[in-house]
Symmetry: C2
Subunit: 101 residues, 2 copies
């Protein structure tokens, strides 16, 4: 139960799992993530920092003319697969249950 709280601390909140899900489909740059998810720069910056601190994503500065920054999931983030899958399934099923009542 403490363990569940730990998980929510790392991966709870409005955006973290969304970001991980997006990044699972391939690395993105800051602006791309912002556009794709609708997260504003200020919030996105904070979320990415926290994900990086927890070893779930990497941040790579690319030596391009305007400098770009690439974010990508780490191998460690794959340990979240079961959690993501279970939550995805439940949310989907719950939504159907509510709509189909």
């Amino acid at each position: 139960m403490l363990a569940i709280r730990d998980t929510l601390d790392v991966v709870g909140g409005k955006w973290k799992l969304v970001l991980i899900t997006v990044l699972r489909n391939g690395k993105r740059r800051f602006r791309e993530l912002s556009r794709e998810t609708g997260i504003t720069p200020r919030v996105l910056s904070k979320e990415l920092q926290e994900l990086e601190m927890n070893g779930l994503i990497t941040r790579t500065v690319c030596d391009t003319r305007p400098v770009t920054v690439e974010y990508a999931v780490t191998p460690y983030s794959e340990t979240l697969t079961d959690v993501l899958e279970a939550m995805y399934k439940w949310g989907h099923q719950h939504r159907e249950k509510i709509l189909g009542s």
Copy 2:
């Protein structure tokens, strides 16, 4: 990804999964829940209402003197088993990874 947000909306936050976990071990009354978890009445009341609205727990007024109220998990709450288990495992493993580094 929308589905994951749905799950977090229903079951995220600081207390909901804790309450479900406690109630899985048997029904409790309001004061019991408050004492066992340390949740203050105001917050507990709100959390229980939300869980009830989502069909995850039941609230039963007992004809005792003084009146008591029993809260219990519903069969539907069992659909959360996979989510709870995955989150429990991940939180546990993540904690070990952090401490053992």
